[in-house]
């Protein structure tokens, strides 16, 4: 990835395209952990790509590209979340996955684990889990990204582990997802 980032910084559009294509699933999962509506996810990721494209040249260390773009995405998600909350045009329910939405995106069996995970955790836990297990960031880095202490991240992960363990052991999975 670092080589692609270097090229993208020098203006190589193909490298930038490749970077985004490589990351598109992760970006989706992270956005999905934060906001539920598919249109909002599209908007957040779209804005993120534009900002990344415009400012990638200022990224000083290529190895931090992923951290950097995730931070942009989380900011975008926060913007959208906040706007929605203000306008009250759409109610956000952090803990549910809309069945109609699942249907419309043609969910297949291998999507289920991901949705089960994010369904059963609260927003803070979801984000901590995604960044820790998907992106494999350290708790210290996650703390920096989310602007909370490392201890808070550890607590969130611990809570999430307990919930998920219970769930995977068979005690708490919504029947329709089994």
């Amino acid at each position: 990835m670092e080589e692609l980032v270097k090229k993208a910084k020098k203006g190589d559009n193909e490298a930038f395209t490749q970077l985004i294509m490589n990351l598109q699933t992760d970006l989706y999962k992270i956005a999905k952990a934060k906001i539920n509506d598919e249109d909002d996810i599209n908007e957040a990721v779209q804005e993120t790509i534009i900002k990344a494209y415009c400012s990638i040249k200022k990224l000083k260390d290529e190895k931090y590209f992923k951290t950097w773009i995730i931070r942009i995405l989380i900011n975008e998600c926060n913007n959208i979340y906040k706007k929605k909350r203000q306008s009250k045009t759409e109610e956000y329910n952090e803990n549910t996955v809309n069945q109609a939405e699942l249907d419309t995106i043609n969910t297949k069996i291998n999507n289920l684990d991901f949705y089960i995970l994010i369904k059963n955790l609260n927003e803070d836990e979801k984000m901590a889990v995604i960044l820790f297990y998907l992106e494999e960031f350290s708790t210290k880095d996650i703390g920096k990204i989310l602007k909370v202490s490392e201890n808070t991240i550890r607590t969130r992960l611990s809570r999430a582990r307990k919930k998920l363990k219970k769930m995977f052991d068979g005690g708490n999975i919504d029947a329709k997802y089994r």
Binding site: G11, I50, K108, K147
Partner: protein
């Protein structure tokens, strides 16, 4: 039972089927950023103002408040938002009425008027969305950062050569009616007789390529322009060292623009050597009057990228080359093209252009953090208090008023002497951690506004450069918010100034003829 960490990791890393709509959005956005960048310039530029290169991309300075101000006086044409105040002043009396339309079941697009001179060709369209478009695609969205999300996807040929230097801006009349202005930059075209083809492919609504209305029409016309000033100007150059020079190619003064075109040329080095240059240094320019006092100006890249790589071939000639095709040992020539605009200012007979080099603060070696500690922070207080700071180039920035409403925090300022490329103002919350944001936009008297001001949004989370710091509660809580002046970089003068005589205004506008609309094959 496996370890819970392994299970979670396994499950969360499993491939998922991404929604088709999402995949389309990602693909189209990347495409717009890269391949279709010429049509996306304006939108991209709006974001660039958030970064350090504020003077390079000043055309991005667009915002709702300026739209309102301008709309009240000039028939909704948003030239001020585009940093083109001179066009705004002179467009109406120098444009010709066209009133030719294309229409389908979704939309009627009318080319209402057209004008040109040796700097720009300007097209004013009125877009009327029909019920079918609104019901299928929804109302056109607006955001402070992106403007109205309505875009004619076109490619433009001048004498059969595609031009990429164009910007668009939109004013809203009603939910279904918009004024859409497209400005084509022809400053570097020396031919007198131009054949223009505006090939309109689609109308895109709400930034979604699936929300497109097929147009497939070609607007064509001839334009005869006066190229006397362009052909008579003798280029001036400054050699910085054996590898770098700056060239002023052209100076123009027309009804629509007072402009200077420049190039920074880097050569006599291999691509490997080029890659090893410090990426945190960049060149820019300051414009002063003949007494050395900085005047209002904006600098733009001369087209979307503004940057071109040439590689020496086996015949010893330099050929334009894609970056990805360049090998490390290739001898390259790297050219950056700039345009300086001087807006509506008068008495610009003699000016000076000072080449500068700016080095941004490095956050890898604590420089940024050290400077953050050193810079003076002031509590954010509304009112006519004075604050000032000195630039790395010795000039003074003075804030004389701060206004705060529910949407914006606006700083009014004056400059004295030379100001480098520092961010004029940044905001932070004093909470013991390092954090700060850049403004939403900067407005410059005579360029894209009638006063100098820096505007922060309270509703969008601002970001700051690489660190992407944000202030998340700015809308409801200004407690502990502080601001600092002139932060982020240091600039130095790198060459003797260019002394430029601005020619008398050439009032000859383009003779436009033979306007027709044809089907696009």
């Amino acid at each position: 039972m496996q370890n819970i960490d392994d299970i979670i990791k396994y499950k969360i890393k499993q491939e998922i089927d991404l929604p088709n709509n999402y995949k389309e959005t990602v693909k189209n956005t990347v495409q717009k950023c890269t391949e279709n960048q010429k049509d996306y310039t304006k939108k991209i530029r709006k974001y660039k103002i958030l970064n350090f290169l504020r003077k390079i991309v000043i055309s991005a300075l667009v915002g709702a408040s300026t739209i309102t101000v301008y709309s009240a006086t000039t028939n909704n044409l948003p030239f001020i938002n585009m940093g083109l105040m001179k066009v705004g002043e002179n467009f109406e009396e120098n444009s010709i009425e066209v009133n030719k339309s294309i229409e389908n079941e979704y939309v009627k697009i009318t080319l209402e008027s057209l004008a040109g001179d040796n700097a720009y060709i300007i097209l004013e369209y009125r877009i009327n969305l029909k019920e079918k478009a609104i019901s299928e695609f929804g109302n056109v969205k607006y955001s402070d950062a992106m403007g109205y999300s309505l875009w004619i996807s076109d490619n433009i040929l001048v004498n059969s050569n595609e031009i990429t230097n164009k910007i668009q801006e939109i004013s809203k009349i009603s939910d279904t009616e918009f004024v859409y202005v497209e400005v084509l930059n022809i400053m570097d075209i020396a031919e007198e007789n131009l054949k223009l083809e505006i090939n309109m492919n689609n109308l895109i609504i709400n930034s979604d390529m699936t929300n497109k209305i097929t147009l497939n029409k070609s607007l064509q016309f001839d334009a005869k322009i006066n190229t006397k000033d362009k052909t008579e100007f003798i280029p001036q150059e400054r050699i910085l060292d054996e590898k770098n020079k700056i060239v002023i190619n052209n100076v123009g003064n027309t009804q629509f623009a007072t402009y200077i075109t420049l190039q920074k040329i880097t050569e006599n080095m291999t691509y490997k050597e080029f890659k090893e240059l410090n990426p945190w240094k960049y060149n820019s320019f300051i414009v002063t009057d003949e007494n050395g006092e900085e005047i209002s100006f904006s600098i733009h890249y001369a087209d979307f990228s503004g940057k071109y790589y040439y590689v020496k071939n086996e015949n010893g000639e330099f050929e334009l080359t894609d970056l990805k095709d360049i090998e490390d040992n290739a001898e390259i020539r790297y050219i950056e093209n700039f345009v300086i605009l001087l807006g509506t200012q008068e008495k610009l007979d003699n000016i000076k252009i000072i080449p500068i080099e700016t080095t941004m603060f490095n956050d890898k070696n604590n420089e940024e953090a050290d400077e953050y500690k050193k810079v003076k922070w002031y509590p954010l207080v509304e009112g006519q208090n004075k604050y000032s700071a000195t630039s790395s180039l010795g000039g003074t920035l003075e804030i004389d008023n701060i206004k705060i409403d529910e949407n914006y925090i606006t700083f009014y300022y004056n400059k004295k002497g030379l100001i480098g490329n520092e961010s004029l103002i940044i905001l932070r919350k004093n909470n013991g951690t390092m954090n700060y944001i850049y403004p939403l936009r900067e407005e410059i008297n005579g360029i894209n506004s009638t006063e100098n001001k820096v505007v922060f949004s309270r509703n969008l989370f601002g970001i700051a450069g690489l660190n992407v710091y944000s202030l998340e509660d700015l809308d409801k809580n200004l407690e502990n918010v502080e601001f600092a002046l002139l932060y982020g970089s240091k600039s130095k003068i790198i060459a003797e100034e260019f002394k430029i005589q601005i020619p008398k205004q050439d009032n000859q506008t383009a003779e436009i003829d033979n306007i027709k609309i044809m089907d696009l094959n």
